[in-house]
């Protein structure tokens, strides 16, 4: 479903793990114009961190490739976050979304999608093997009283 954006920005970066920090900070900076609560900002940073880490670790396990982070503000105070890679893709998305499932070895917990689902209102995953993965997340921020 395509919804008109009030404002949007697209960032592209190589899948170096040091860009995880950049991506979540950039998302928080963009979301600041929605006047979020501190909790909402932390939720956004955490969900972006999980999705970007997945792209880096699982999209490109043996190489460096491109990751795109698209941030859009939609009508109704909704923030949409899209993380896209053109990496190896996920053969079984339903299985990958199960808690504790990981192919990332001991340094991963397998809880990334669980965290995204818990911190965002909606999480949609599209993936094709050898084509890449797109994760679209939406969160409606609580309306704040205008002074």
């Amino acid at each position: 479903m395509r919804t008109k954006a009030v404002n949007e920005v697209t960032l592209s970066f190589p899948s170096h793990s040091r860009n995880e920090s950049f991506a979540r900070s950039a998302a928080a900076c963009f979301a600041a114009q929605m006047d979020p609560t501190l909790n909402e900002l932390e939720d956004i940073k955490t969900a972006v961190s999980e999705a970007v880490t997945n792209a880096i670790v699982h999209g490109y396990p043996d190489a460096i490739g491109g990751v795109t982070l698209k941030l859009r503000i939609l009508e109704g105070n909704v923030l949409e976050l899209t993380v896209k890679d053109h990496g190896q893709g996920i053969p079984d998305v339903d299985r990958a979304r199960q808690p504790m499932f990981t192919t990332g070895g001991e340094e991963r917990s397998g809880m990334g999608f669980t965290i995204m689902e818990s911190f965002m209102d909606k999480v949609a995953v599209r993936s094709a093997v050898n084509r890449g993965t797109t994760v679209v997340m939406r969160k409606r921020l609580a309306p704040r009283l205008k002074k």
Binding site: S17, I56, P99, S109
Partner: protein, 101 residues
């Protein structure tokens, strides 16, 4: 990600600082394993007071610590967890497995 190691009488205290994400967790895991192998503690305390951000990478660190302390027949305490990190741990159900203060 910085880690301060303090060890005395087979009590090991690891004070973590900075951002505990996938990038930071690699170093944290390595340093934790080295400190555990050197101290073979009865009690491990992971102090998260200095952690400014944590995602599910922190879960992997805590679960690894739990596994290691079970092998050593010792105890694990996680303390100084921020509200943000606490929400990550609660969403993953880690608070049911590990003592968190």
């Amino acid at each position: 990600m910085e880690i301060q190691v303090k060890s005395a009488d087979r009590n090991l205290l690891l004070e973590l600082g900075g951002e505990l994400d996938h990038h930071g967790a690699r170093a944290a895991l390595r340093e934790m394993e080295e400190a555990l192998d050197a101290a073979l503690p009865r009690k491990l305390v992971l102090d998260f007071s200095g952690v400014t951000f944590m995602d599910s990478s922190g879960i992997a660190v805590i679960l690894r610590a739990r596994q290691k302390m079970q092998l050593l027949d010792g105890s694990l305490l996680v303390r100084g967890v921020s509200p943000q990190a606490r929400r990550v741990l609660d969403a993953a159900g880690v608070s049911r497995l590990v003592t968190i203060k």
